[in-house]
């Protein structure tokens, strides 16, 4: 047992910290750190800058821009990136479709899409969930029917995050209605400018427009846009969702949120109950971070450590708890509208309730926390 990082990893960490502040423009990092709105343009600029330095997709295969880092180094990369206020590379590109294409797509398709995906020249949207297929994703009903060389797609996807910016959407579609539900699914890449694709905004309880419905009406998709083989979609979906679970443990983000909350607490820190609440959250977060380190330090050959299922579950719970703390620290100032040009209440206080409400999503997406409990109960405890 040894606590400290090896000299090599320590140097790596310092190099990452220095790189992120050098590579990504300060105004973008400041916007992130101060919790201001991060625009699509900022996300594009940031990811292109990261990609130019080989920092956007280090976990991809080396021939497509990956770096061959250890799990621990990837953890340090992510940790330092979040700490520096760099917007995370668009997860639909870098964590979801990129690794799927690298694993399952034809060489031609890889060459066509992977470089543009890494560089965010293509903004990907995710077309998985449907109104009647949430946690039970395999129940999806959007169909793709072969017509000559093309597929004709009909149906509806929903909860498509940032779909309003999407250039392309990767979808799971039903290609064999007769097969057992998991076996009749394929993955299709669809250009969102194709006639028959319609994106409709969904307004959320935080007042924002983050997610969308995406409707497909007789959308013609070239046959070459099928990823891998027909009816192989569920294999790819499981591969993608497995990656997503590891990626959504928000340790670094929650650390930053908690440090900000503490800094903003001001006089409220004189209250022993507030101090105890913060100290307890810090300790819970420390236990989670150490679990994440245990997982990354001992994940062999890409096999997830059993404790990795704890990360998403507990990470999102803490993310929600810290966002709840921020609303309590804001107090009545949370009600001062963010839209007022002049107000005494600071921005963070006026945004605190929408953030709190927004983060209720965290225990629902990426495999809801109940799905995580099911995974723990079944695969770890054998129940």
């Amino acid at each position: 047992m040894r606590l400290e990082l090896s000299a090599e990893d320590q140097a790596f960490r310092e190099e990452m910290a220095a790189s992120f502040t050098r590579v990504v423009p300060e105004e973008i990092r400041t916007a992130v750190l101060e919790g201001q709105e991060v625009t699509a343009e900022m996300i594009r600029t940031s990811q292109k800058a990261l990609n130019a330095e080989g920092l956007a997709v280090p976990h991809w295969p080396v021939e497509w821009g990956g770096r061959g880092w250890t799990e621990l180094q990837r953890h340090l990369w992510h940790e330092e990136m979040v700490r520096a206020g760099v917007p995370s590379p668009l997860p639909f590109n870098t964590s979801m479709i990129g690794p799927v294409l690298a694993q399952f797509a034809s060489q031609e398709m890889k060459e066509r899409f992977l470089p543009a995906t890494a560089n965010l020249d293509i903004w990907w949207s995710q077309g998985f969930s449907e109104p009647d297929a949430g946690s039970d994703l395999a129940g999806l009903r959007t169909t793709a029917v072969r017509d000559g060389e093309d597929w004709v797609v009909n149906g509806q996807k929903t909860w498509t995050t940032l779909g309003q910016y999407g250039d392309w959407i990767f979808t799971l579609v039903r290609t064999d209605p007769e097969a057992k539900k998991q076996l009749g699914i394929s993955m299709l890449l669809i250009d969102m400018t194709t006639p028959g694709v319609e994106v409709r905004p969904i307004e959320l309880i935080d007042g924002g427009h983050e997610v969308n419905e995406v409707w497909f009406t007789d959308v013609r998709v070239p046959g070459e846009n099928l990823v891998g083989e027909v009816n192989q979609g569920w294999t790819m979906a499981k591969f993608l969702l497995g990656n997503e679970r590891v990626g959504v443990a928000p340790v670094a983000l929650v650390k930053r949120m908690l440090a900000s909350a503490k800094e903003r607490a001001g006089d409220r820190l004189d209250d022993p109950l507030t101090r105890a609440r913060i100290a307890e959250l810090e300790n819970q977060l420390l236990a989670l971070e150490l679990t994440a380190l245990r997982v990354v330090a001992h994940s062999a050959d890409g096999e997830p450590h059993p404790a990795s299922s704890v990360l998403k579950l507990r990470g999102t719970e803490l993310q929600q708890a810290v966002s709840e703390l921020a609303v309590d620290l804001a107090g009545p100032a949370a009600l001062v509208p963010g839209s007022l040009e002049q107000a005494d209440a600071p921005d963070w206080a006026r945004r605190s309730a929408p953030v709190y409400l927004n983060y209720r999503k965290a225990s629902i997406y990426g495999g809801s926390n109940e799905i995580q409990r099911q995974i723990i109960a079944r695969t770890i405890l054998g129940l």
Partner: protein, 380 residues
């Protein structure tokens, strides 16, 4: 960064598990042993001595093995898994630890040598009763007056007693157990706990006479808390294992209990608590082994806070998910919960640790377990 044990450490764990696991595989044997006159098994104690366990953390020149907190933690965890009644925490970690931290070379050689050989048990009498123990110098010697309770394993041959010094500060003294007025009984979890009354009782200063031993004492208490964390962790592991096994085998309404998702989810949450605790206890152990006393103290408090929270969660749920059987004295699981409760309150509970941590919470921006200072740099 490495959370794994090396071959020697694994061999130590396996050896201790072999001995204690075999002896107390049947929980009835543990109950019988704990109820006996001595409260533990002398043969097992001797075997632990032969394995080097009773001298584990002490210098080789004093009869010890020269091991550290990692090894002590491995043994404590095995003790916790079977609720072994042998007083490893009381005699070795606390009693012996105090001698190792504050004693002269001569005292260490004598007391630790006898302890390591299984010939003499030590205990640390620190928590005061209603009359705090004070030390006085008289006729070229020292005398102690006051009462200590509870003293874990206080029926030991030799006691190390903390006492207020006449000039301020806290001294540590060696007292012959027979020279005190002692009463010993089983605590609610079966641990042997004593009340020790000193009435002008002759005592030998541990280390330099009259010197303040507060720092050494604080270190020993931290080592004790850390070992208690490991002991609790061992108990929690077994409580969860027993619970999942029970959910799979116990039938109600004609089906096994694991048919019911409400129960499985609660077991999953127990697993979450256990894994988080495993991580922070391993980290605190490394901090104690590698860091200065201040950081080590904070790390121990942090681990002990998590253990307190998780121990209650896992212990309570283990009983609930078993149902009535876990309320019985003859079944292991309820006894684990009882022992977790005792460990939680032995050297300060979660609430006290939280209060201490909360007191310092505005002194740093955030925590960073990878930084040598444990503090994260400011983001700006």
């Amino acid at each position: 960064m490495d959370f794994t044990h090396d071959e020697e450490q694994v061999a130590l764990r396996d050896a201790v598990r072999g001995l204690l696991g075999r002896k107390y595989a049947d929980f009835e044997e543990r109950r019988r042993t704990a109820r006996g006159e001595l409260g533990f098994d002398e043969t097992v104690w001797k075997q632990l001595a032969e394995m080097g366990v009773l001298g584990l953390p002490f210098d080789e020149e004093h009869g010890g093995m020269g091991a550290g907190p990692v090894e002590v933690g491995l043994v404590a965890s095995e003790v916790g898994r079977v609720l072994a009644p042998e007083p490893f925490l009381a005699a070795v970690v606390l009693g012996g630890g105090a001698v190792a931290a504050a004693g002269t070379d001569e005292q260490k050689a004598e007391l630790l040598g006898a302890l390591a050989a299984g010939e003499r048990r030590l205990a640390l009498a620190h928590t005061d009763g209603a009359t705090p123990v004070t030390a006085a110098e008289a006729d070229g010697g020292w005398m102690l007056t006051g009462a200590k309770e509870p003293v874990l394993g206080g029926d030991a041959e030799t006691l190390v007693v903390s006492a207020a010094l006449p000039g301020g500060g806290t001294g540590l003294f060696v007292v012959d157990g027979e020279a005190c007025e002692r009463a010993t009984g089983p605590a609610f979890d079966g641990s042997r706990v004593s009340r020790v009354v000193l009435s002008g009782t002759a005592a030998t200063p541990l280390g330099e006479p009259g010197a303040d031993a507060s720092a050494a004492l604080a270190r020993v208490l931290d080592l004790g808390r850390l070992a208690a964390c490991h002991e609790a962790l061992g108990g929690m592991e077994v409580a969860l294992q027993a619970t999942t096994a029970y959910l799979k085998s116990r039938k109600q309404f004609g089906v096994p209990l694991n048919t019911f998702q409400a129960l499985n989810f609660r077991a999953a949450d127990m697993y979450v608590s256990l894994e988080l605790t495993r991580s922070i206890v391993a980290w605190a152990t490394m901090m104690v082994a590698e860091s200065d006393a201040g950081l080590a103290h904070e790390a121990v408090l942090r681990a002990a806070l998590q253990v307190s929270r998780a121990g209650r969660h896992v212990g309570q749920e283990a009983i609930q998910l078993h149902g009535g059987i876990a309320m019985t004295a003859e079944y292991l699981v309820g006894n684990i919960t009882s022992h977790l409760t005792a460990l939680d309150h032995l050297l300060g509970d979660g609430q006290q640790h939280l209060a201490e941590l909360a007191g310092a919470v505005d002194g740093y921006p955030g925590l960073d377990p990878l930084a040598p200072t444990m503090r994260s740099a400011s983001t700006q």
